[in-house]
């Protein structure tokens, strides 16, 4: 039996101003959508949002894109809409989550070197943030490390790479950060069922 709903992944890129998120959410809601995941950030004055939304069957990706583009002046926004494919998502998200930190002085090629390092080891980058403070940079990333990899070896190799880039590197399981920053019971972090829910 065909589903009565279709889930899409939607991204919008536009120069930042007040009210963009209202325009985005209004556009999809007007189509009868339920937004079930959203992440928004601003980088160097550019607003970007990624969301997942479930819409009534029969509304195509193109319909969603056109409706959203109508919310902005022509040429201002870049909108991408693709069907949500659960099989691809499951494949990408296997492994345990670790946090990466890189600190030191900025130079060209850091991100290329580090992302290549992870890609070569089939480590998936889920989130990445860079903060600039003059010449000093701080990278904080969230990655999924496949279970088959020896985390000690990955840590050693990452530190070697960081040394070449004159950076200081850290790679630690996310639970240590969550344990220190959250107030929920520790046992819930370690319980596989609870961890699955929270993931």
């Amino acid at each position: 039996m065909e589903s009565a709903f279709t889930r899409y992944v939607i991204s919008v890129l536009i120069a930042d101003r007040p009210g963009i998120l209202r325009d985005v959410t209004s556009a999809v809601t007007d189509l009868g959508a339920n937004i079930d995941g959203i992440r928004q950030t601003v980088v160097a004055g550019y607003f970007t949002v990624m969301l997942t939304a479930t819409l009534p069957a029969g509304i195509s990706a193109s319909d969603v894109q056109q409706r959203m583009l109508r919310s902005f002046r022509i040429g201002d926004a870049s909108v991408t809409v693709v069907p949500y494919d659960v099989n691809k998502v499951t494949k990408a998200a296997t492994g345990e989550r670790y946090m990466v930190t890189l600190t030191g002085d900025d130079q060209t090629g850091i991100l290329q070197a580090v992302t290549s390092f992870f890609a070569d080891r089939k480590i998936n980058i889920e989130d990445w943030n860079v903060e600039f403070n003059g010449a000093h940079i701080t990278h904080v990333g969230q990655i999924s490390v496949p279970d088959l990899l020896d985390i000690k070896q990955v840590q050693i190799e990452l530190r070697h790479l960081a040394q070449k880039l004159n950076l200081k590197a850290g790679l630690q399981h996310e639970f240590i950060f969550r344990a220190i920053s959250e107030v929920g019971p520790i046992r819930n972090l370690l319980d596989p069922h609870q961890a699955g829910i929270q993931r």
């Binding site: 946090m99 399981h173 969550r178 220190i180």
Partner: protein, 457 residues
């Protein structure tokens, strides 16, 4: 994603402020190893420890890498060894200590505690044997630690036992004279002894504990000190309640780290998780000192009036933060003041600003007692006996644990310097202001009755 500042703050605590897990201690019940033939007892003890703790160090090391948190010590705490000594002799007691030492070495733990006798109301033959074997047992072993319970709020104070132990402490020091009486640093004398304490030298597995259990002792003086420093840098006139609040929040984070490691170790070894001991445990490293926290708070000369209040405030804030962080708090859970293991305290003793009498006052409001105190080699047993009785009285009346690790250093006198190296640190020989004049009192022996505070039913 987790907040970037939270991530960086955690990394800073680990990399720059000496946040670590001071000890993961596995408790093991050995009472089922008892028997009439000591060789069989020793074989049973060795086999059981090697079986139960086979993977302890490996798992701790794996989790240390996983979380980026050093687990500095991996230790064992056994049920009181005195329970295995009934019907045996001195040679058997020493053989048991050696078997424990071999087993600890085999499973690669740092120390094994529980060469213990609970004599707060009376001494049974196995306990008498253990106490009298201590000079040899602690001198011929590397990893074995001993503890004695000589009183409690419920039982009062066993002065006969304290007399015996005071003389034994002098003999232990003499037996290890070539290393400045170091064996005495492996013996703690307690009142209100905790049954789940993961810290050495006083760890043992109490009677109400599981067959096997994982207890964790956190660290964190450096983290607390830096938190207070940052507060004062931002607000130079910060009030004491603001400082207490900062310590409380920091203790929360330190405690959570310990519980995470402890619970994960326990889960991977398929044994129950016991407690997190909140005690701030210093090391001789600069930046990992309890004394530095008091100095940051404004007690620039440790021992000056106000020092006891600073200890009380720190201890209370640590407990409040820790008890919110975890519902599995136990052990000693307070602030340690081991003089030799804390460079700032050791310097204050050397400078003469921190006296034994002031330390004694501080022990009324923190988690332990006179800890790692170097004494003249010719100190009288009656002086040691009086010191133990005074500390015992503080603990018994205040319904709290107090303890003593006293090290009479053979051949050394007041003002001499001794360096044990490593975590045990270095320090100056000190002494009580009035070392005699108590002989008639302590030689009476007997039992100091349980105080009125014990009648709380």
């Amino acid at each position: 994603m987790i907040n970037t500042q939270d991530v960086l703050s955690t990394v800073r605590m680990l990399e720059e402020e000496n946040l670590d897990v001071r000890t993961v201690t596995m408790g093991i019940n050995l009472t089922d190893c008892a028997g009439p033939v000591m060789q069989t007892v020793c074989d049973n003890v060795y086999d059981k420890i090697c079986h139960k703790a086979a993977n302890l160090v490996r798992v701790c090391d794996e989790l240390s890498a996983r979380y980026g948190v050093p687990v500095v010590n991996k230790r064992l705490a056994i049920s009181p060894a005195s329970l295995l000594l009934g019907g045996h002799n001195h040679k058997g007691a020493v053989a048991l200590a050696k078997a424990l030492d071999r087993a600890a070495a085999e499973v690669r733990v740092d120390l094994i505690g529980g060469f213990t006798a609970l004599v707060h109301k009376g001494i049974i033959p196995g306990e008498q044997l253990l106490i009298e074997a201590l000079p040899e047992a602690l001198s011929v072993t590397q990893r074995v630690c001993a503890s004695l319970s000589v009183g409690s709020t419920k039982a009062g104070m066993n002065v006969d036992a304290i007399q015996l132990i005071s003389k034994i402490i002098l003999r232990i020091a003499q037996e290890s004279a070539e290393c400045y009486g170091f064996a005495a640093a492996k013996l703690v004398v307690f009142v209100n002894i905790p049954e789940d304490n993961p810290f050495m030298a006083g760890a043992y597995l109490g009677a109400g504990e599981p067959e096997t259990v994982i207890n964790v002792g956190v660290s964190g003086p450096g983290v607390v000190k830096r938190a207070v420093e940052r507060l004062i840098e931002a607000r130079p006139r910060a009030t004491l309640d603001e400082i207490a609040d900062e310590i409380k929040h920091t203790a929360f984070r330190v405690t959570r780290t310990g519980e995470l490691i402890g619970r994960d170790v326990a889960a991977r070894l398929s044994v129950p998780f016991g407690v997190v001991d909140l005690s701030l445990a210093p090391t001789p490293r600069i930046g990992d000192s309890i004394g530095e926290i008091y100095q940051t708070m404004g007690i620039t000369k440790l021992g000056a009036p106000g020092t006891t209040a600073a200890v009380a405030m720190l201890n209370d804030a640590v407990k409040k933060g820790g008890s919110f962080a975890s519902s599995s708090v136990g052990g000693l859970s307070g602030a340690f003041i081991p003089v030799m293991e804390d460079h700032a305290l050791a310097k204050a003793v050397k400078d003469g600003t921190l006296t034994l009498e002031k330390l004694e006052a501080m022990t009324a409001v923190c988690s332990v007692g006179l800890d790692m105190i170097l004494l003249p080699g010719d100190i009288a047993w009656t002086t040691i006996c009086g010191m133990i009785m005074d500390e015992a009285a503080i603990g018994i009346i205040n319904r709290k644990t107090t303890a003593l690790r006293l090290i009479p250093v053979p051949g050394k006198k007041h003002g001499d310097f001794v360096d044990y190296g490593g975590l045990f640190g270095s320090g100056t020989i000190t002494n009580v202001a009035c070392p005699d004049g108590n002989e008639t009192f302590v030689e009476r022996g007997g039992h100091v009755p349980a105080p009125i505070q014990s009648l709380n039913n």
